[in-house]
Amino acid sequence: MLYAILCYHDEDFVGSWTREQDAAVMEKLAVVQDKLAKQGRLGPVARLLPTTSATTLRKDDPPLVLDGPYAETKEQLLGFYIIDCKNLDEAVDVARDLGAANPGGAYEIRPVGILNPGSVTG
């Protein structure tokens, strides 16, 4: 089963990291990702730019283009992982590992219905 792990965190907090602090967190996360990649369980991973760069399309009739993220929340969606796990327990374990590497905020774990791996590369 594929699981999406959606990363929520306080954007102000993450945004106040120095370049060095940011790099240190990314390095720790890379260790967890490498482990998953070696097991063949790591799908696409994305880190999103700040919500100030977000645009929302409301699918009204006619569709409405709005500036900003969909949800105004204290913690924002900052990125996501797609991970292959046997069950929810495993997915929670992966989220725990990621959380140990990057404390604070929350992960929303959602089973993936359809995944089209697409063809773009970062």
């Binding site: 700040p50 100030t52 760069s53 283009v65 900003g68 204290k74």
Partner: protein
């Protein structure tokens, strides 16, 4: 760094948050500033012995508040008041303070502080000057330099602004949506100036003033989050990000200024460039052009050029032309002239800036640019005069060092020429 330099830096960077929170608490600008000053005095005594607190701003807010409350208590002893009232007041205060120190609400405090400084009774220039003084804690001299006026004139402007704000009474309430929008442009201009103060830092001042750039970007992002559909705020944020993306390449190991053409572009921060470009992209959809968007578009053209020779100078010339119409200023024309020197000729560029002389007679960059054009035209004696003037007006040691490099080259060249002549 000396023992007190880190304290100065910490106090400066904590200032907007601390004064903003104290203003929320006291609802009076003078009291808030005084409380902050008192807290700073305590910090100067306490921090060298005890080390820096984990959260400098929280420490300053707490101490500033307590010192002020102690004063109230002392006054009340002389003139007794019902004890219950005092206690209940303080209970409320503790609760409110705990809430205030928790989480990221401090940015709203900063924004409130910005807006209060931008009081509608004040002319725009006074609003900006006041905000720079009160929110950012810039010195009068720094502010005067950013405004191209004398220190005395700026001092007077700030004193007048403070008096007018006090007369008008500081409204504690957050301004309504319409009022906010009216004040946005003044706040945006002020944030841009904060950024420039950091951006113009060099050498030994980088460490102290570079955080101004980060602060300006944070304020711009905050402003954009509150005004998500303002293309000019998108443009402002994009502009700051695109400029700041180059910061690692702007100075060499010795602290000397590295010009755009000579910068190691691999040091540019691609993530910031991507964010800036994304914001400009978003802003363009609104089809409401403005000075920040145009400047960001210029910065994006520089950022997109992998090599200096890939720079689209013709497009940059056009954009500066548009900016000259939107926001006529001798500094804009000076910048356009640099593009003109690349697209057309140094002579055309020189012709363009000659009329600016009287208005930019105290502006370092005018003489630096003029000297460079003259040098390209082999008018070395005149170039040397311009460079000498630039050095006299240099704001930072890096600026002066950069011009001195040109001068040394001129002297070397002319010495070489003389020795060739004497050999003949």
């Amino acid at each position: 760094m000396t023992d007190t330099a880190w304290i100065d830096a910490a106090l400066t960077s904590a200032r907007p948050q601390a004064v903003g929170a104290l203003l929320r608490y006291f609802r009076n600008l003078d009291t808030a500033e005084e409380a902050f000053q008192n807290a700073c005095l305590r910090a100067l005594k306490s921090w060298p012995q005890n080390g820096p607190p984990r959260d400098a701003a929280a420490w300053l807010i707490m101490v500033g508040r307590n010192v002020a409350i102690d004063e109230v208590r002392r006054n009340r002893k002389q003139e007794p008041l019902p004890e219950d009232d005092v206690i209940s007041d303080l209970d409320d205060a503790e609760e409110a303070l705990a809430e205030r120190l928790d989480g990221s609400h401090y940015r709203d405090d900063i924004l409130r502080l910005l807006f209060i400084c931008c009081h509608p009774d004040l002319p725009a220039t006074q609003q900006i000057a006041l905000a720079l003084r009160i929110v950012s804690g810039l010195t009068v001299k720094q502010i005067a330099r950013a405004f191209l006026v004398t220190e005395a004139a700026m001092e007077q402007r700030i004193t007048r602004a403070k008096a007018r704000v006090a007369d008008a009474g500081v409204p504690f309430e957050t301004p309504g949506a319409v009022e906010r929008t009216e004040r946005l442009s003044a706040v945006a201009a002020m944030i841009y100036l904060i950024f420039n103060e950091g951006y113009s830092a060099a050498g030994d001042t980088v460490e102290v003033r570079a955080p101004l750039c980060e602060e300006a970007i944070r304020l711009a992002r905050l402003l954009l989050r509150l005004f998500q559909s303002e293309p000019e705020i998108m443009g402002l944020t994009a502009l700051l990000l695109l400029q700041h993306a180059r910061s690692a390449a702007r100075f060499d190991a010795a602290g000397a200024l590295v010009l755009l053409d000579d910068q190691d572009r691999s040091l540019w921060n691609q993530k910031m460039i991507a964010e800036g470009a994304a914001l400009i992209d978003k802003a363009m959809r609104h089809r409401q052009s403005g000075p920040y968007q145009v400047q960001a578009a210029i910065a994006a053209l520089h950022a997109r050029a992998a090599k200096p020779e890939d720079t689209d100078w013709a497009q940059i010339d056009l954009l500066y032309g548009a900016l000259e119409i939107m926001q006529p200023s001798p500094v804009v024309t000076l910048n356009r002239a640099v593009a003109v020197s690349k697209v057309r000729s140094a002579q055309a560029a020189l012709d363009m800036i000659e009329p600016l002389g009287p208005r930019l007679s105290n502006y370092f960059h005018f003489f630096g640019v003029r000297g460079a054009f003259l040098m390209q035209l082999n008018r070395n004696d005149e170039a040397r005069v311009a460079f000498d003037r630039a050095i006299a007006l240099a704001n930072t040691s890096a600026e002066a060092a950069h011009i001195r490099m040109h001068l040394d080259r001129l002297i070397r060249d002319s010495a070489g020429a003389e020795s060739r002549i004497s050999k003949k």
